[in-house]
């Protein structure tokens, strides 16, 4: 892990926002490039793996999966894209006058758990980006205080 001195100075809110926008981007911006790539690959693969198992209509829906949508939204705007695609499927089915085809159990449950867990993992990553950004800011403040003491 890079030391506090090595990390880029990124404000904590920006680090958290970047980590939510694209999983791993917060760590990338903080200088933890390899960790950022690992988070990006693993969280996206888990989220879209879930969507592939259950189909977007069954997996990402704001009405039928209870609080799982909150967990899924932690995975970033890609959840909003999936939600848009899901609602588009509804509209297409209504326009064609046919029933929406939903995945049966267990595919439906496995899909929702996969995408929800991906979101919760990204929540951990967002909190870790916050901790790293805060520790880097503290180290920078100490360095500047030390320089002021040395020059004064």
């Amino acid at each position: 892990m890079a030391t506090e001195q090595d990390r880029s100075a990124v404000p904590s809110p920006l680090a958290m926002l970047l980590a939510w926008l694209v999983p791993g981007l917060g760590h990338w911006a903080l200088g933890e490039r390899i960790r950022g790539v690992v988070f990006f690959v693993v969280i996206n693969a888990t989220f879209w793996g879930g969507v592939a198992i259950g189909g977007v209509r069954t997996t990402v829906t704001s009405r039928e999966n209870g609080a799982w949508i909150a967990a899924q939204l932690c995975a970033g705007p890609q959840t909003l894209a999936a939600l848009y695609l899901s609602q588009k499927q509804d509209r297409l089915a209504q326009a064609a006058g046919r029933q929406v085809v939903k995945a049966p159990w267990p595919s439906s449950s496995i899909a929702v758990v996969y995408s929800g867990v991906a979101g919760l993992l990204n929540l951990l990553v967002i909190l870790n980006a916050l901790v790293l950004a805060e520790s880097a800011a503290e180290a920078a403040a100490k360095r500047s205080a030390g320089r002021r003491e040395a020059s004064g």
Binding site: R35, I43, T46, G55, L85
Partner: protein
Amino acid sequence: MTPHLLAALFIDWIPITGVGRLGMLLPLALSVSIVYRTIRCERLAAIPLASLVLWVTIVGGMMLIGVILLAIFHLLA
């Protein structure tokens, strides 16, 4: 991969039956292990082995809980 095939991948669902239901635990536990260990490990080189150990621990623990619950179910039946 054509856009049509890619769209079908995320619109159609995949049937999962038999041992595949249990097998779906493995990649999910692997994702959790990798992310957790990537956060916790100081050294990048330690991540693969630590993730593997955690993955085996999670899967083994879940299997053990499953066996215990199955035994209790048979005892009560």
